[in-house]
Amino acid sequence: MFVLSTHNLSIGYSKKRSKTIVQPALNLKLQAGELVCLIGPNGTGKSTLLRTLAGLQKPLDGKIKIDDDELENLSHHEKAMLIALVLTDRVDIDNTTVYDIVSFGRHPYSNWWGSFSEADEKQVREAIEMVHLTHKKDDCICELSDGERQRVMIAKALAQDTPIIMLDEPTAHLDLPNRIEIMLLLHRLSHKTGKAILLSTHELDLALQSADRIWLMSNVGVECGVPEDLVFNGSFNRTFESKYYFFNEANGNFSMNYPMTRKVWVTGDKTRMYWTLRALARAGYIVVSDAEFTITINQNSWILNEKEFSTVKDLLDELATLSA
């Protein structure tokens, strides 16, 4: 079941009379219980798309439908019941605890005075528990780390109890363990709660691992699909095409294109091979069988010209003197 769909949606900015179309005619579908990652180079309109789908920005043309209702016809209040947002805006409020911030998620449900029912409080407590911050619920938001803050904002979105959650670069500014933790958390939440979660990110390998579906944005449109399918049909390589690097289909990472002018041949131990090749590529050596020098990899060392080296540094130094 699709919870959100776009119909010939044009996104961009309009100023007085001139329109800047960032992406024309998008037909996208978001499914319940799915984690969708929106990726693409800077400037292709990831944020614009997210802002437009969230109703923070007007579409230039076309429609956005949530179930069968058009987003444009919904009131602010109705939108808040359908879509919860986690943005890049920094939230810093004095004297405000984690519990208070998460409580903001119940805003659309409370009366004008903002008083909470028993059910509201239960939702807030459960949301905090889902992001594993129960032990910090009475801490001031200003005392939390960036990763914890991000989890607080996710809890706020959970407390809002909407079928859709949208996150704008939730892993930006976080260190690797926190990035992984956030992505794992979102993956688990989408499957456990049946919510549709859409997020934009620059973390390609994390997105490839955790996303059920990828929206790959480029200058010519958006390609949708299961991550592996997009790898196999070469979409990533087309989108991130450059003469300086290439998308390495073997490991889902980007590899840099070094100017490789010198030749060397390598044989031996498999586990050390990968890292040895990386070092050689960086130093500008292409690995070919008809090379002048041959490096043999042993268990703990490298052999070159019958000399034994125990570190990569010594090996590269020797190669440099030989080639000079």
Binding site: L85, V91, I93, H107, P108, W112
Partner: protein, 315 residues
């Protein structure tokens, strides 16, 4: 409440507490004292309460709307607009009919019109711009323009007119008579009432406009209502008492410091209480010396150290 009574008791003529009670219960003996009490000190004390509460609530709303701890009720150029009105009437009075200049309402009317004009311009612009920071700059720019016109007027005025204008800028709580109170009281109540009705939306704005929008807060409408409420509060008070500096920017910080919260549900009543108390204290202090000091000076002189103390204590 105690402060309110103390404010009534203090002054160049000391009036005892018993006498105050007697006057209010209708058993007053001393004709002059009860005259002073009822027609001078009581309206002055009520004005202090209203001004303190109104300016503080307006300041709190501005600080929340702009997410800027330095915002005050005059940040949208309201006081500059009011002073332009008053400057026009005091210094350009040669061109106006005498009847208009001499009545007490003239200054008030001029201040109201000046403040309202700037406010309308700011509101008009607020519908055309997306973010609150631009609105802040627009307000400051309108204020600067009004300020420059005042300077030009001063340049061409005689010293007497300038003194009259400068006296107005000092601010005074005693200018409000019972007649004026009939206008000031409802204006303040409507403004503060609007603030209380907006408290949930103000809370939402703490997260920033985008998050607030995501929570279903209608941003444009809310911004408009906040500007109107602030205009009523700051414009109304300024028209009757002249600009009173500092209260609006300081009191919200004091309230946050004392109550350790950012929730407007608590902060709004807290600012009303703190604002009213601080201006009463300032009014009491301003009456201790033989010569009555301008309230504007006292509020800054005694308010600033309070802020410093709160900030240092928090660290």
């Amino acid at each position: 409440m105690g402060l309110f009574l103390a404010d009534l008791a203090w002054g160049s003529i000391h009036i005892s507490l018993n006498e105050i009670i007697a006057t209010f219960t209708g058993n007053g003996q001393n004709g002059i004292n009860s005259e002073i009490l009822l027609n001078f000190r009581l309206p002055k004390a009520i004005t202090a309460v209203l001004a303190g509460a109104s300016l503080s609530v307006a300041g709190l709303m501005m600080q929340t709307l702009f997410r800027n701890p330095l915002a005050d009720p005059y940040i949208l150029g309201i006081s500059s607009g009011a002073s332009l009105g008053v400057a026009l009437i005091t210094m350009a009075s040669a061109f106006l009919p005498v009847v208009l200049v001499n009545s007490g309402w003239a200054m008030i009317l001029a201040a109201v019109i000046g403040a309202a004009l700037v406010l309308l311009l700011v509101v008009g612009v607020s519908f055309r711009i997306q973010n609150a920071v631009s609105l802040l700059i627009v307000g400051i720019m309108f204020g600067t323009i009004a300020g420059s016109i005042v300077s030009v007027l001063q340049n061409f005025s005689n010293p007497d007119a300038i003194k009259l204008f400068v006296m107005w800028t000092f601010g005074s709580l005693s200018a409000v008579t019972w007649t004026y109170m009939q206008v000031l009281l409802p204006v303040s109540f409507i403004g503060i009432g609007m603030a209380f009705l907006l408290q949930k939306r103000l809370d939402g704005l703490l997260l920033g406009e985008n998050y607030a929008r995501g929570l279903g807060v209608p941003i444009m409408q809310t911004r408009f209502l906040i500007v109107i409420a602030t205009g009523l509060l700051a414009g109304g008070i300024t028209a009757f008492t002249g600009p009173i500096a500092f209260v609006g920017v300081a009191i919200p910080h004091i309230a946050r410091g004392i109550f350790r919260t950012s929730s407007h549900k608590i902060l709004l009543p807290a600012t009303v209480l703190c604002g009213a108390s601080l201006l009463l204290v300032c009014d009491i202090i301003s009456q201790i010396p033989t010569y009555t000091l301008p309230i504007n000076t006292i509020s800054s002189l005694f308010g600033a150290p309070i802020i410093l103390w709160i900030i240092l204590k928090r660290k």
